[in-house]
């Protein structure tokens, strides 16, 4: 009679199967919500459906296989095969047999996709377009995560661990940009995780399940706080830099400037004495919350070998040809740093195109990183009387350079009027504005009130800036450009680099430009002359020295500044200045050693993450080992209970059933099929010792050798693989939180 209750109730297997399907469904929901968190860094939503398709196929295959197979591990195998097949079918069907069986060609095709995805991630800004490479990488990640989820939740039956891969997926946006964390998707994923624990838990352990989930939520919220920021790497070395990568590079400019140690952005030699300002792009659209480029399209056909004329440049404006050889370091940018106004660029890799208004050089798929190229440019040096002669004329077609947002604070226009006073021409007004900022009233500060979104170029920021009279180039340039617009002068903000530090090498003068040379400055448009650079930021850069009113000698060099103004001369200098060898730049010995506080590079950051995950994964092994050692000591002192605990935990680790609700005899019977004769005999002795110790009035000690024999026998019967898994991922550590496996499954 008592035996009958151990037989599985009719329909129990059916119920367990239904539970497995439900678990797979919850896993799919969890992947869906955590994957949706990626929407903060990706445009569109199609990619999400592709991810869900992959996840559904992988999890569905696992569930289907598991519902037929006798062993749960087949489900994981099915999931892995389905992952490979699905990725092949979606991304490289042409190279595969029947579209799903991968061949060597498939591996190559997928590797190419992976490379393109990596490049795409490196070159794109937020939010990024989910192109095929990125979608492939996402699908790969999700497929792996689904296989791991299924492995944890259903094959190994440790659903609590399923939180780990989910958190990895959730953390991706935060890793890209710590300011991005979408609470909604996090909460939804946490809810799905709680659901998973509820599904896989028996009622008694539901409280514990909720406890774990709450703990996981807290940990997941705290962990990002402790993680280092993703910031550019070793100063001076050619580490990777997030500099000016974005659709709107101004967003990260403040961060780059504030960064403690500058990292080398690029080096160049130029025929222009004193170096050149290098422009990345112009921000001409101030209709919204902040300055941004009006167009980021890459115009096919605008080959950089011959770049169009500078807009508005009159025929009589003095100009001189200049040649610059630029070697870009490890900065990720879709814009190429070039001097104004470029006429031709050679030596670039990838497809680059020039943009006719800003003369920005942009790529859709390539990257400025590690490019080495030669730029032919025109140095435009209008004379002061030419600028004055431009008067207040605004040529047609430039209206958009006068647009201001509706919520522009009145103080901006009012200050502009006060500053320019009765200046008559646009040039006089511009000079008055520049002097207003540089006159000493304003101070340069990268740390000035950066809270409340002040770290930007928006309209409301301008008001705060004009009151605080402190800020950095973004504030100065956007303030001057905005005020110029309010005065009717077409203007835009340009983002780029100041000329950098000159190093005299035997081969010539090499300029080293670091992330601290990142800069923003206004360009104002003058009829018949075109765009002219101004420099309102005090202490930064050099205001353009326009030729004096009466002297129109373009060959007069301006030598009274420690850093010569870039537009000071148009004297042609031979462009034969040898380019610095790239090896010089990347030579680590020439770079300062990174201090302990130096931010980690992206690559080493990932290694740190991997190391952290590995440490996390090994932690159970260590904890379990300590516990095992302690119990062995207790057993050798004669404690049968300690021996029994260790035996039960080892059986748990191996996935065998040892419910605390079963008596020692029942557990011994359960384990008998998993033992050889010697182990069975040792187990009988161990059990007798335990029974006497626990239930008789006279105890008799346990034999540590018996314990060893039983454990060895259990592991040997389980097979090396299972023994290894039990060693690395001991279930017993979380046994209190997990539903006990039924003994029927253990065979």
């Amino acid at each position: 009679m008592p035996e009958t209750r151990r037989a599985p109730a009719p329909g129990e297997a059916e119920r367990a199967r239904g539970l497995d399907w439900l678990t797979s469904g919850v896993l799919l929901a969890a992947v869906g919500t955590s994957g949706a968190a990626l929407s903060s860094i990706l445009t569109d939503v199609q990619w999400w459906f592709v991810l869900m398709l992959v996840a559904a196929i992988v999890l569905g295959t696992a569930a289907t296989v598991r519902s037929f197979a006798r062993r749960r591990a087949w489900g994981s195998l099915g999931a892995a095969l389905a992952a490979v097949g699905t990725l092949t079918l979606l991304f490289a069907p042409g190279s595969a047999i029947l579209g799903i069986v991968p061949t060597f060609d498939t591996a190559g095709a997928l590797r190419e996709l992976e490379a393109s995805g990596t490049a795409s991630i490196a070159s794109q800004s937020l939010p990024a377009d989910a192109d095929q490479g990125i979608v492939y990488l996402l699908c790969l990640g999700v497929a792996v995560i689904c296989v791991v989820l299924d492995l944890f939740a259903l094959t190994l039956r440790v659903p609590a661990f399923a939180g780990l891969p989910l958190v990895v997926l959730l953390l991706v946006p935060s890793l890209v940009d710590p300011s991005l964390n979408d609470g909604l998707f996090f909460a939804l994923t946490a809810a799905a995780f709680v659901g998973l624990l509820l599904v896989r838990s028996r009622p008694a352990s539901r409280g514990a399940g909720v406890g774990i989930a709450a703990g996981a939520v807290v940990i997941a919220l705290l962990v990002p706080l402790g993680l280092p920021d993703v910031t550019p790497p070793d100063p001076g070395a050619q580490g990777s830099s997030g500099t000016a990568t974005g659709i709107n590079p101004i967003l990260t400019l403040g961060d780059d400037l504030r960064q403690g140690d500058p990292s080398l952005a690029l080096t160049y030699t130029t025929s222009e004495p004193g170096g050149v300002y290098l422009r990345l792009t112009a921000l001409d659209d101030f209709s919204g919350a902040s300055w941004k480029p009006s167009s980021t399209d890459v115009i096919a056909g605008n080959d950089v070998a011959t770049i169009g004329a500078a807009p508005g440049l009159g025929a009589d404006v003095p100009r001189a040809a200049a040649t610059s050889d630029i070697t870009v370091g490890n900065i990720l940018s879709r814009w190429l740093p070039v001097p104004y106004a470029p006429t031709s660029i050679t030596g670039l890799e990838g497809n680059w195109a020039w943009e006719p208004d800003a003369l920005a050089i942009r790529t859709a798929s390539s990257n400025a990183r590690n490019q080495q190229y030669e730029v032919q440019s025109l140095t435009i040096s209008p004379s002061v009387d030419q600028l004055i002669a431009a008067g207040t004329t605004v040529e047609p077609g430039l209206e958009r350079y006068l647009a201001l947002p509706d919520d522009m604070p009145a103080i901006v226009g009012q200050t502009a009027l006060d500053v320019v006073g009765d200046a008559a021409t646009n040039y006089d007004k511009a000079i008055a504005l520049q002097e207003y900022f540089r006159g000493g009233e304003f101070t340069y500060s990268e740390e000035a009130p950066v809270e409340n979104g002040y770290d930007g170029s928006g309209a409301s920021v301008l008001e705060a800036f004009l009151k605080a009279k402190a800020g950095y180039c973004v504030h100065f340039s956007s303030a001057m450009a905005s005020m110029a617009r309010s005065l009717g002068i077409p203007s835009r903000v340009v983002v780029g680099f100041t000329p950098g530090d000159a190093n005299t090498l035997p081969t010539g003068t090499e300029y080293r430009v670091t992330t601290h040379n990142l800069h923003a400055w206004p360009e104002l448009y003058f009829a018949g002359i075109g765009w002219v650079r101004f420099e309102p930021t005090p202490g930064r850069g050099v205001p353009p020295a326009f030729a004096p009113l009466t002297v129109d000698d373009p060959t007069t060099p301006d030598v009274d500044e420690s850093v010569p103004p870039p537009a000071a001369t148009n004297a042609p200098v031979p462009s034969s200045t040898p380019t610095a060898a790239p090896s010089d730049v990347s030579d680590p010995s020439s770079t300062p050693v990174a201090g302990p506080d130096a931010p980690l590079g992206t690559i080493s950051w990932w290694w740190a993450l991997v190391a952290a995950i590995v440490a996390l994964l090994l932690a159970p092994l260590v904890v379990r080992g300590i516990r095992r050692a302690r119990r062995r000591v207790l057993t050798s002192r004669g404690s049968a209970a300690a021996a029994w605990d260790e035996l039960r935990d080892t059986a748990d680790d191996l996935g065998l059933a040892t419910s605390p609700n079963r008596t020692p005899r029942q557990i011994a019977l359960d384990l008998a099929p998993h033992l050889d004769d010697r182990g069975a005999a040792a187990l009988a002795r161990l059990r007798a010792a335990l029974e006497r110790e626990a239930f008789a009035d006279r105890a008799s000690g346990a034999d540590a050798a018996d314990l060893g024999a039983v454990l060895w026998s259990l592991r040997r019967k389980a097979g090396p693989l299972r023994a290894l898994v039990s060693f690395i991922a001991p279930r017993s550590l979380v046994a209190g939180w997990l539903p006990a496996p039924s003994s029927a499954d253990a065979d």
Partner: protein
């Protein structure tokens, strides 16, 4: 039940050896009459050695009465048998005072209940009045007639049988009275081998006639004392209490186990341990006895089992099994 033969490695003292030998003798003797029903026979003997009353419930013809009679005949003690019928009166059980004209006084004529082993056949056929007379004497160990109390024999054990399906003309025992039985067992049908063997045996004579007593009443009293001396650890007691508590809190049960049930569960477990040759009780003893000892005392909530009658209690068995499976086994008294 199979573990009865499993372990004899921990037999402690001679007392248990002798106990075990005698118990085995009783078992093998009874088994000559009841074929292939080792579990039922062992359970009956367990209850007997725990000095409890046994209720055997099953369909007619499976050997309920045969078991009771065989068990009684193996012990050399006074045995009486009462066939319960609707017209049976309390006096037919307890006895009556009759006027002795020679001595000019009332003289008590003891009824059949004055015996060491009383076999009550089809107990649920008697009227409630008669049933309660019987059951009260079972609890109190004495009979009161006309103001005088008469002590019953020791040991005093009632083995009652009842019929679960023949409900016509029966008075089901109220739960308060079922509670007086230590355990309820059912016989079940014999398997084909046992049934075949039975056909051979019964072809010539009744095997019951060949049964000879193997222990006398004083030996039985010794055995009962030995069984009572078995050690039940705090852990085991906690386990029994935990199960009893669980039955009281279970949503599927309308009536849980009484404290008397817990007491009898541990007492029966001691007898089982002694039968097994152990000087201490194991949680396995509690597990094995929970259904026979608790099954007839619990009442399932109406929703728990639509088809379960009060007597069969099929769903109650399931509920107890679930409770046992859900109750943690304390390995040490503290945990």
């Amino acid at each position: 039940m199979s573990n009865l033969e499993l372990q004899h490695d921990d037999v402690p003292a001679m007392a248990y050896d002798a106990f075990h030998a005698k118990a085995q003798a009783i078992l093998s003797t009874v088994e000559t009459v009841i074929d292939g029903k080792r579990d039922a026979v062992e359970m009956a003997l367990t209850v007997l050695l725990a000095e409890g009353h046994l209720l055997i419930e099953d369909v007619p013809g499976v050997g309920k009465t045969m078991l009771a009679r065989a068990l009684a005949r193996t012990i050399d003690c006074s045995v009486s048998r009462i066939q319960f019928t609707p017209d049976l009166l309390p006096a037919d059980i307890t006895g009556v005072s009759v006027y002795n004209q020679a001595e000019r006084a009332f003289e008590f004529k003891p009824g059949p209940i004055f015996a060491n082993i009383v076999i009550g056949d089809e107990i649920n056929r008697a009227s409630p009045k008669t049933q309660s007379a019987m059951l009260e004497s079972m609890e109190e160990g004495q009979v009161t007639v006309d103001g005088s109390s008469y002590a019953l024999a020791t040991p005093f054990i009632v083995v009652a049988t009842q019929n679960p399906i023949e409900m016509e003309g029966t008075y089901p025992l109220p739960e308060a009275q079922r509670d007086r039985f230590m355990a309820r067992i059912s016989m079940g049908y014999p398997d084909s081998t046992a049934e075949l063997a039975m056909l051979r045996q019964r072809a010539t004579s009744s095997p019951l006639a060949a049964v000879r007593p193997v222990v006398d009443s004083s030996e039985l009293a010794d055995m009962i004392a030995t069984a009572r001396a078995v050690y039940a650890s705090r852990a085991v007691e906690q386990y029994a209490v935990a199960i009893a508590q669980a039955t009281r809190q279970d949503r599927d049960l309308r009536l849980g186990a009484s404290p008397r049930a817990t007491l009898q569960l541990v007492r029966a477990a001691k007898a089982r341990a002694a039968l097994d040759g152990r000087e201490f009780v194991l949680p396995d003893d509690i597990d094995a006895l929970a259904i026979p000892v608790l099954g007839h005392r619990l009442i399932a909530a109406r929703r728990a089992g639509a088809g379960s009658s009060v007597l069969s209690g099929g769903s109650v068995t399931d509920i107890i099994a679930r409770i046992i499976a859900d109750t943690p086994v304390p390995i040490s008294a503290s945990s």
